[in-house]
Every structure is written in structure tokens, then in C-alpha cells.
Amino acid sequence: MMTEVMLVEGVTDIQLISYYLQNVYGWKYEKNNNLGIVPLDEHDHIESLSKGENQLVLCGVGGNGRFAHFVEQHRISSMIVERDITSLMVVTDRDEDSIGKVARRIRGSLEGITIQVGDWAENKITDSFGQEKCMNTYLLIIPAEKAGALENVIIDALKDIPEETALIEEVIQFIESLKAEIVPELVQTNKADKAKVGTFFSVRDPKNAMRSFGAFIAKIDWAKSESLKDLFLPFKSLGEEKECNTQA
């Protein structure tokens, strides 16, 4: 039995990743997790999935500036030492930063843990009984190839789902047309991307227009997106035995 933990930024990340894991990789929703992680404040969002005997705990930390806070509040470092956690994956937005800067920020939040961008890293952990064990870590930065955030990933995914391509292209043009005079705020790429995603779903599913992103998620067949498939490929390893050698 394996227990894995994924730290992500917020609720939207959890909703998309959870949907994807359930519909593409066969994970199932669980009410509770065996680590006993529960939200400690209004920013935390916890969701648990299982696949066979294995469990994956998705933790929304409440924004990219709150990884360190979440790790401290939930005593993730102690949890890694005291519980059998086979892997820890961190998924974070790249935003306007370089890959290196994002990686440094995440490493700073996970004291004593080795984590690599785009690759599994083996960590030798000595538990408090003095026994050695191994934990794999993975840092997934989205999008990997360019600046941006989850919204950018969603837009790219919609573009390559044949049934959604026409609408997303129209929405992109519409939002771009507003930049110049009507809504100058949309000059900022991240805000324009949020507007594109919000507008797309409002038009795509008008009866849920006033609801949260979670209500739209199931309307799209995300499995058809090749870009999302590539980006989320590391999720394939979740729930599977990964090589982890505790020998020095």
C-alpha cells in the first residue's frame, strides 16, 4: 500500500487535476485520507483519491505564496519522517518567473527535501526510529515551456480538443479585442487568461455561468487534449511503484 501526497496551489488546480486523475488514470474519490490531513483554515483544500490499495492526497495550499505556510502548519516535514509517504509531488504555476526561480521557491518551502523539476528524485529519509526509508519527489511546473499559469494550460488544452477549438479561438479574439480601450486591465497576461477561461465556460455552459470552475470541469473531455496529456504525463507514475534506493 502506497500513500502519496501532491501539493498544488489552489482549489482550481485540485479540481482539474482530480478530474484528470479520475477520468484518465482511474483514480477514485475518497472521503478521507489515511494521513488524517484536513483543512486547517479557509485557504486549505484537501481531496483524497484512491487506486486499489494506494492513496493520493491532493492538498491545495491556498496560493503560490503559501507553500511554506502549509508545510509548516500541517507539519509536512514531520509527516514525511513519521508516516510512510512514498512520494511527494508539487505542482505549481510558473507565472512570470524562470523555472529556476520557481524551483528555488519550492525547495525553500521543503527544508531538507531534494526535489527536481520534471524528474523524480529519490530522498533517503531516516525515520525517528533510526530506520531508513525512501521517498520520491517530483516538481511539476505548469506550463513548463513558457510563462503562465493554470489558465494558460487550460486554454492550450481547449485549443486541441476538436469540439472546443472553435469556441476558445473566438473567446481569445474577443478578450484580446477588449484590451485596447474597454478593459485595459486585460493587458496583463494572467488576467487576460483568467478572463478567457471564465468567458469560455460561461458561454460553453451558460446555466452554470455564475458557478465556480468546479461546475464546468466535467463538461469538457479533457482526456482528448494532447497538450494536457503531455503536461500531466508525470501523473501516470502516481500509484505505481517507483524506483527508490535507500542505499547510499
Binding site: H74, R75, S78, M79, E82, S128, F129
Partner: protein
């Protein structure tokens, strides 16, 4: 009297090698069944045992507190040695660092098989006992096991080594009565009574005991010895209506509390070991009883080692640390979890320990399902 800071156990029962350091005034010993908790408590008692077989027997017999028969001493004795020892020399040793210096207890020897007649010669039985044995046993066993070895103890002074030899025929091992230096409360010890000895003649202590008993039964106004019809003395309760009730009619909770308080007083300036503190106690009394026990232990300068299976008991004990209110750098509570693990070469097992502060356990339990007991 010493309080111990570090203990090292080698080859005792299931413990091949175990070191636990940074011991505190209140030490919780937790772990799964068969993880070595009782062995750990026995090791502490053996540290303070004299170099004589009767001292060792007292420790062994605590495992069979309710067993009136005494015919398995040899087997119980041999089982004290780790069964996975490679050579024929049976050996275990316990070492401790205390505020009074080093303490060592070692027992070693060999087992051999001799004829029944030879065994009777070697036996620790008196001539009279031997004669009785011959009479009562229809057949003298053809072969009998004999243990020959020595006990070495050192407590501050020079080590004392004493040769020992006894056979599997020997059911009684006697020796001089020696004042105890460490006190032990077995999980069902309160069923043997001996509840009031140190309480009734100490007005202040008695008042405290009665105030705690009132939580169980508000009508209790006094505790004392009363004379039964046959002239024997009964440990009794007097109610507000003047009714005298022997403790035998009361539930385990009251007896357990008095038993702990009685032993606590006896263990002044010493060490008290409590096995399965929760036995006989309802969890609703934990939070009122444990702070009293700890406050008394502090006042009487008693180092506590408390073995427990109960998470409710652990949580109640941790409340004594007041970790929400205090930034306590000098945490009085240590939580020592024992765990049986397979040895690295895959042959056999050993016991390992996690020794963390009460605060560490408290904070982890708040944040996630921290497995204290495993």
C-alpha cells in the same frame, strides 16, 4: 536515589540491542502488543536488582502476577535471554547512566543437561525439600536442565559478581528481603489490594486521596483499616452515612487510583514503573487523575515510566504539558515508542525506539494522524 537518563539493553528477551537516551521525569512507553514495553520496564528493575537469583525471580514473577503456581520459573528464567543468540553462552546486559553514575546489570551462563539424580544434588532445594520432592514425585526425570552462570551488578560502586546455579526442578528460589529501589505497578496489581499502607497514616496525603475518590463516589468521607469478624484487617471506605464498606465491593477504578497513590508515596526519591496505567480506569477520570499523579511525582521526586496502550490515556497525559499555553523549553514528558523490526540481515528481529518530546507528539497529533503507538 538515582533517576536514569539513558538506558542500553542488550540481549534481554526480544530486545537484541536498544539504547534510549534523554529520559525525562515522565516517560511514556508506548507501542504495539509484543513490542517490548514490559521488557523495557523489567530492564529498569533489573538495573537496581541485587546480584542474586531471588531478585531476578521477583522481576520474572511480575509477569504472572495473578498466577499462583510457581512451577515454571526455570523456563521463564531462560526466556529472559534473547533466543536469537548465536553462541551457547546465554548473556544479557543492561547499562544505564543516572544522576548518581553508571548502573550495570549483567547475567550470563550456560545451559546443560544432567541426570535427574545429579540435578537433585545441584538443586537449590533444602534437604527437606529434596526429600519431599522424592516422596511426592513418582518418577525422577531422566534428564534435567541446569543453568550455571553469574549475575554481575554495579550501582555506583564496584561491580559485584555472584555465581548462580539452579535446575529446572527448582520451583522456589529464596533470598534475603532487600529494600526495593525501584517500584513497579503491574496492570492488574490493584486486584491484590495493598492500597492504603502508605496513605492512612499521612493526614495530608489521605485527604488528597479522599478528594480524588470523591470523583468516583461523592459519599466517601474516609478510608481506613477495619477489623473483620475473623480478626483480619480489611481495607475499607467509610461513607457519609457512617457505613463501612470493604474495598472489595468497589470497582477497579477506585482500587487502581489508590494503588497508584500508595505506590507513588512508597517510591519517593525513586523510580515508579506503571504498566498499562489505563487498566481498570474509565477514560473520563484520566484528565483529573493524571495531573494529580504527576504533581505528586514531582513533589515526591519520583521518576515515572508509564506503559500504555490507550490513546485516550496518552492524550490526557499530554495535556499535563500545557503545550497550547506554554512555550515549554524544558518539556517534562518524553514519549518512547517501541517497535519490533526485522534485523538487517533478515534473520530474526529487534526492538527499536523513537524518543520524542510530549510537545512533538501533541503538535503532530493536531496536524495529522501521528501514529504514537504503531
Amino acid at each position: 536515589m538515582a533517576s536514569i537518563k539513558l538506558i542500553e539493553i542488550n540481549g534481554l528477551r526480544g530486545i537484541k540491542k536498544l539504547t534510549v537516551s534523554d529520559l525525562s521525569k515522565i516517560n511514556l512507553i508506548v507501542g504495539d502488543n509484543n513490542s517490548g514495553k514490559t521488557t523495557f520496564l523489567e530492564a529498569i528493575q533489573l538495573l537496581f536488582a541485587e546480584s542474586q537469583l531471588s531478585s531476578v525471580k521477583n522481576v520474572i514473577n511480575q509477569r504472572t502476577v495473578l498466577n499462583l503456581h510457581d512451577n515454571s520459573f526455570y523456563t521463564s528464567f531462560i526466556k529472559m535471554f534473547n533466543v536469537e543468540q548465536d553462541n551457547k553462552l546465554l548473556d544479557f546486559d543492561i547499562y544505564a547512566e543516572s544522576n548518581k553514575g553508571q548502573i550495570v546489570f549483567e547475567m550470563k551462563g550456560r545451559e546443560k543437561v544432567v541426570s535427574g539424580d545429579d540435578a537433585l544434588q545441584i538443586s537449590t532445594m533444602s534437604s527437606r525439600q529434596k526429600a519431599t520432592y522424592k516422596k511426592s514425585s513418582a518418577i525422577l526425570p531422566e534428564t534435567v536442565k541446569v543453568f550455571s552462570g553469574s549475575i554481575i551488578s554495579q550501582n555506583g560502586k564496584k561491580p559485584i559478581e555472584k555465581e548462580i546455579q539452579f535446575t529446572s526442578l527448582d520451583t522456589t528460589v529464596t533470598g534475603p528481603v532487600i529494600k526495593k529501589k525501584v517500584y513497579y505497578i503491574p496492570s492488574f496489581g490493584h486486584l491484590r489490594f495493598d492500597l492504603l499502607q502508605n496513605i492512612v497514616d499521612n493526614p495530608e496525603y489521605k485527604k488528597l486521596a479522599i478528594s480524588i475518590l470523591k470523583q468516583f463516589d461523592d459519599s466517601i468521607v474516609d478510608i481506613c483499616y477495619t477489623k473483620a469478624d475473623d480478626g483480619s484487617f480489611l481495607e475499607s471506605v467509610i461513607t457519609e452515612n457512617g457505613v463501612i464498606m470493604p474495598f472489595s465491593v468497589y470497582g477497579d477504578g477506585i482500587k487502581k487510583i489508590l494503588y497508584i497513590m500508595n505506590k507513588l508515596f512508597e517510591a519517593s526519591d525513586s523510580i515508579l514503573l506503571i504498566d498499562e496505567i489505563e487498566t481498570g480506569l474509565h477514560k473520563k477520570y484520566y484528565e483529573s487523575l493524571f495531573p494529580v499523579v504527576f504533581a505528586l511525582a514531582k513533589k515526591l521526586n519520583v521518576q515515572l515510566f508509564i506503559a500504555t496502550h490507550s490513546m485516550e490515556a496518552i492524550d490526557a497525559i499530554l495535556k499535563y504539558g500545557e503545550y497550547e499555553e506554554k512555550t515549554n523549553d524544558n518539556d517534562p514528558i518524553k514519549v518512547i515508542t517501541l517497535k519490533k523490526v526485522n534485523t538487517e540481515n533478515g534473520k530474526g528481529s529487534n526492538v527499536v525506539a523513537r524518543n520524542v518530546t510530549g510537545k512533538y507528539v501533541y503538535e503532530n497529533r493536531k496536524a495529522f494522524e501521528f501514529e504514537v503507538r504503531l
